[in-house]
Symmetry: C2
Subunit: 215 residues, 2 copies
């Protein structure tokens, strides 16, 4: 997001998030640290307290979408988010995987978690899905889908596959430079995949929202 | 490790780990689940209890090395491991990164954590470090080291760079099949990098061990 070194401001209505663009605001624990290399050495309860503050004390204003990017796993962060937002009616979870079976094994646990806590699943995205050599245009499956990848898992578990994002060095470069990959390389296969995925998520949210509540 | 579906056995001297080979034993929470897709939905205190049990109640026998593979972050798992093993004299941490600045930002926090809890750092490994197209032999930096990668970070922080492991589809394939990549493709650049890294870690441990205690 290109927001390293940004600080959060306190106002009468709470913490103000940091605006990347007029319609994109971000909140991160990174904004509260005195140095960018500071480690946040916290056990679960303190993390849960901060998650609650981010939801309750940040002046988000009117939002169309609130996206929470969680770490991998099925522990404090995931339980707390689901619990604290239970009254708000979460539209659902977007699950990200890579194509190998070792990743799918973890992702199946994540899906089981969603089922247990009754969190709807909007769909699954397969990331790092093949790489086209920029010189000879040969496609390599760098993380081979030895058991059929996300597609087969989605078929088995009856979940929508939202799309596949191929590996592209320009993604990492854009991230490092804090630029939007979609603006930098709009015609790339990965950018086309992103757009298609976002459209599917928007369609899901508008068809599942009971009212005009934020998704 | 090819151990999916394995179970732990209880003996008079505690839980027996699962043996991959005569000289390689593994303990994992996966061995205690009734289904491989079961999610372990635990908050910090339960995770900490299990880590303690894995260290105290498993009949490890005589070991040369005890390797703990932690998730990313600086939270319960990391604090508990350091705390529970404080009397044992941990030789040190091996830090893994990928080449991009967004990864190095997280890894610098991990290094700061090690410094704070006085955990020595054996060195840093750069993973996913370039990809050679199998067809045209062109090298792509799929995760470009826009700020100099692990090498520059190690120079700045005065840490040893243990090595760089390139991307190779045969790594993922071996992992998915539960086979040893080093046995499957022993001459590959990634296998050579692994061997060199392991040798450096062994050298570090033998030069830093005060006694013949396990590393």
């Amino acid at each position: 997001m290109g927001l390293e070194g940004e600080q959060v401001h306190q106002s009468g209505s709470g913490w103000s998030p940091v605006y990347v663009e007029d319609n994109l605001a971000v909140m991160s624990i990174g904004f509260l640290l005195s140095s960018p290399d500071d480690a946040v050495i916290w056990r679960g309860p303190k993390k849960n307290g901060m998650i609650k503050q981010f939801l309750r004390d940040v002046d988000w204003g009117e939002v169309d979408y609130l996206i929470v990017d969680t770490p991998p796993g099925t522990s404090d962060e995931h339980l707390s988010i689901v619990q604290y937002l239970s009254g708000a009616g979460i539209d659902g979870a977007v699950i990200i995987t890579t194509p190998q079976e070792v990743s799918l094994q973890d992702v199946r646990k994540e899906i089981r978690f969603c089922n247990k806590v009754k969190l709807p699943i909007i769909g699954v995205i397969e990331n790092m899905s093949g790489f086209v050599c920029p010189k000879c245009k040969n496609t390599s499956q760098i993380f081979p889908p030895t058991t059929g990848g996300a597609q087969r898992m989605c078929e088995e578990l009856n979940l929508p596959l939202l799309g596949r994002v191929p590996l592209d060095p320009r993604i990492g470069k854009s991230c490092d430079e804090g630029k939007s990959f979609l603006t930098e390389v709009p015609e790339s296969p990965a950018a086309v995949a992103y757009h298609s995925i976002v459209q599917k998520i928007r369609d899901y949210c508008s068809s599942h929202s009971a009212s005009d509540d934020p998704c």
